[in-house]
Symmetry: C2
Subunit: 383 residues, 2 copies
C-alpha cells in the first residue's frame, strides 16, 4: 500500500460563529467532500521542504521551515473557496510545538501567555541562536503578533498522527482524543566528589555517576508497581561531570518525566520519586536532591467535540474508531485554556514518531482529512 512519508502537518482549525461565511450554511445538510488526491499531493509537496531520508527535518525558523510556511500561505490564498467549505474557519500552522526554541511557541503567543521578555530571553536548544535573531532572519521581526480575539471562536480542532501504536496495533483508523495527558518533569541532581580514577580507593569515593545509575535503576524498578495502564515514564536526559574516562564523576544530573491523564496518578508518581530521592540521599555517600521543572496538567477535550468527531468517524469508517488519551503534548492543550478544544488522530505506522522513519498510510490520511472536515462542519452547525 502506498504511504506518505514525513510528518502529518500540524494544521489547526478555528471556527468562528459570528461571520458571514457561516450563517448562510446553516440550512445545508450535505457535508463537505474533501479531495483525497489533492490532500496527498499537497502533503508530498510539503515533504520536499527539508526532506531527510524518507522523512523531513525542518528546524523551527530555519530557511526551509520559513519557505514551507510561505508555500502553505500561498496554497490557502489560491483556494477557490476562501471560507474553507463555506464555513467560518481560521486555519493556523503553529510554530515550534516541539521546542527548538520553546515548546508551543506559536500557540502560547496566540493565547497571550508568551511575553516579549520571554521572546528576548529564549535561545535555540541546538546552537544557542537567540530567538530574536532567528525571527529577524526568518523575516518575521517587527510583525504584529496574531492574538486570540475573545468571543470570536466556537472552538479549536486539531488533527495529528497518533505517534503511539494503539491504532496501528488494533487496526482502527480514527482516534477521538479524550484528554491530553499531564507531563511532569523533574531535575535530579547528585553531588559527589570529583577525583582521580586511579588513586582514589573505592571505599572513599563519592561517585556521582554510581549514585545516578543506582537511583535510576531504583526508579525503573519502582514505577511499574504504581503505574496505570497508560502511564509512561522516561529518563531521557543524563549528564555526568566531567565525563572523562579517568575521572570520578563529581556531579551528575538526570531529568525524570512521567505522563498520565489522571492527576492523582501523577501525584503518586511524584510522591514515589521524592521518597526514592530521599532514600538515596540518606544512604549516601552522595547528596541527592530533586526539583520540579515544567508541569503541564492533564487537559480533558470538550465532550461535545468528542461526540461530533466520533459521529463523523462513524459515518466514514463505521466501527473503525476509538476514544483514547493523547500521551504527547499538543497545541490543543494550550488552546483548551481559551476555548473548547478537540483532537483527532490517524494511525502512525509502528507507532514511530520524531524520527525520519515516521509514516502513515495514504488511505488513513485521506480518511482523516474527510472525518476532520466533517467533524468541523458538525461542530459549526451545532454552534
Amino acid at each position: 500500500m502506498p504511504v506518505i512519508r514525513g510528518q502529518f502537518p500540524l494544521i489547526a482549525i478555528l471556527g468562528y460563529s459570528s461571520a458571514d461565511f457561516y450563517e448562510p450554511q446553516k440550512g445545508r445538510k450535505e457535508m463537505p467532500r474533501i479531495d483525497g488526491g489533492r490532500v496527498v499531493a499537497d502533503l508530498k509537496r510539503l515533504a520536499d521542504f527539508g526532506r531527510y531520508k524518507t522523512g523531513v527535518h525542518r528546524p523551527t525558523y530555519s530557511p526551509v521551515d520559513v519557505e514551507s510556511r510561505h508555500w502553505l500561505v500561498g496554497k490557502l490564498r489560491d483556494a477557490t473557496d476562501p471560507g474553507c467549505a463555506g464555513l467560518g474557519i481560521d486555519v493556523a500552522a503553529w510554530a515550534d510545538e516541539e521546542g527548538h526554541y520553546q515548546s508551543f511557541l506559536g500557540s502560547h503567543s496566540f493565547t497571550g501567555v508568551l511575553s516579549e521578555e520571554q521572546i528576548d530571553r529564549v535561545q535555540g536548544r541546538d546552537d544557542g541562536t537567540p530567538l530574536r535573531e532567528a525571527l529577524q532572519r526568518a523575516g518575521f521581526a517587527g510583525r504584529p503578533r496574531e492574538r486570540v480575539e475573545p468571543g470570536r471562536y466556537v472552538g479549536y480542532l486539531e488533527a495529528h498522527i497518533e505517534q503511539g501504536d494503539t491504532l496501528d496495533t488494533t487496526g482502527l483508523r480514527i482516534g477521538v482524543v479524550e484528554a491530553i495527558v499531564g507531563i511532569w518533569n523533574y531535575l535530579v541532581r547528585l553531588e559527589g566528589e570529583q577525583n582521580h580514577a586511579g588513586t582514589t580507593r573505592m571505599v572513599r569515593r563519592k561517585d556521582a555517576g554510581v549514585a545516578m545509575v543506582r537511583l535510576a535503576t531504583r526508579i525503573h524498578d519502582a514505577f511499574p508497581e504504581i503505574a496505570g495502564p497508560r502511564t509512561v515514564w522516561t529518563i531521557g536526559r543524563m549528564l555526568i561531570e566531567p565525563n572523562a574516562p579517568s575521572v570520578i564523576p563529581g556531579h551528575a544530573e538526570m531529568q525524570v518525566q512521567f505522563r498520565d491523564a489522571d492527576p492523582e496518578r501523577l501525584a503518586l508518581f511524584e510522591k514515589t520519586l521524592h521518597e526514592l530521592v530521599g532514600e538515596a540521599d540518606r544512604a549516601g555517600p552522595c547528596r541527592v536532591a530533586v526539583e520540579p521543572m515544567t508541569h503541564s496538567e492533564p487537559r480533558p477535550m470538550d465532550p461535545g467535540f468528542q461526540a461530533q468527531i466520533e459521529a463523523a468517524a462513524e459515518r466514514h469508517a463505521p466501527g473503525m474508531h476509538m476514544r483514547l488519551p493523547s500521551a504527547a503534548g499538543h497545541d490543543a492543550a494550550v488552546l483548551s485554556y481559551r476555548m473548547p478544544a478537540g483532537m483527532m488522530f490517524i494511525p502512525s505506522l509502528g507507532g514511530i514518531s520524531h524520527h525520519w522513519s515516521e509514516d502513515s498510510k495514504e488511505d488513513d490520511i485521506v480518511l482523516g482529512a474527510q472525518v476532520f472536515a466533517d467533524a468541523a462542519t458538525r461542530i459549526l452547525r451545532a454552534a
Copy 2:
C-alpha cells in the same frame, strides 16, 4: 602548616653513565644537599602560570603552558652547576601526560612510539584543535624531536605526588613505587530504539538509557566480589542519545575502566565484564556489546632503583616511608620499556588530585626533593 598549592611538577631525571660529569664524582661520599627554600619559591613561582583558585590550570600547549616551559628552561640555564649536582643528569619536563591531546605525548615522542602520522591526526579533546596547529602556535613546529639515545642512560627516575591518600592517612612521607598499575579501558555500546517519550507504551520500549543504568548497576554490584585490596574501577564517561527529556534514548555508551598491578586480576575483571555484557544482551530488549579500548600493562619498577630510593628515604625520614603501587599512569611506565625506571611519591593532602584543591605540605615537598636528589646520586654512583 604552610602549604604549596598547585601541581607538583612532572620533572624527570635521566642519569647517563658515559659523560664527563659523572666520572670525577665517583669517589665522593657526600650527598647533594638541596636548597629547600629555593625549591618552594620556584614551585610558588611556577604555580603563578595559569593560577586557578588555589591551584593551576595549564592546558597543554596553551600560551600559559608554553610560557611556564620557557621559564623552566631559563631556570636550568641559570643553574650555576650545569651538571645538576655534578652528576650526569638530563632533566625532562614531559608534555601532555594527562592527555589534552593524547596521553604521554612527550614521553611517547621521546621513546619513539609516536609517529608523524599520529601527530597529524591528533586533535584537542576540548575544542578539536589539531595538534599540528597547537604546536605551530606554541612555536614548536619544525623543531627536531628529542629522541632517546640508545646506551646513554642508566635509567629514569620520576617524582610525583601520590594523588591517592595512602601516605596522607598513614602519616608516612615518602612512597617508593613498586609498580605502575595496568589500566584497561572498554567501550560498552547499547542499541535500543529512539522514540517518543509520551506515545510509546512501556511494554514496547527499547530504552538504551534504561539498559545502561541497569548494566552499570550490575557492574558496580559484581566488581567488589572479585576485587583485590587495591583494585579500582570507574565508569567515568556515559552518554545517551539524543539526550533530550522527551525522547526515549535509542543509543547509549559508557566507558568502563579498571586498574590493578596484577595481570591475572585484570584478566578476571575483563572476563566478568564480558559475562555481564553478554547477560544484558541476551536479556534484551536492547543489544549490548563491549570492545576493548586502550590497555596499558602493569609495569614493575626496577628493584635496584626501589632499593636506592628506599635507602635515601630511610636516611632523611627514618621509618617514614613505604612501598606501594602507583594507581595512576605515569611517564615512568612509558620510559620503563626503554630503560630501568623508578618512581617516588610525596603525600597528597586528602588524596585529592586533578582538581584545583590538590595540595601538598611544604615540608613534604622539601623532604621529597632531598630524597629524590639523594636517590639519583646513589643510583648513578652504583652504576
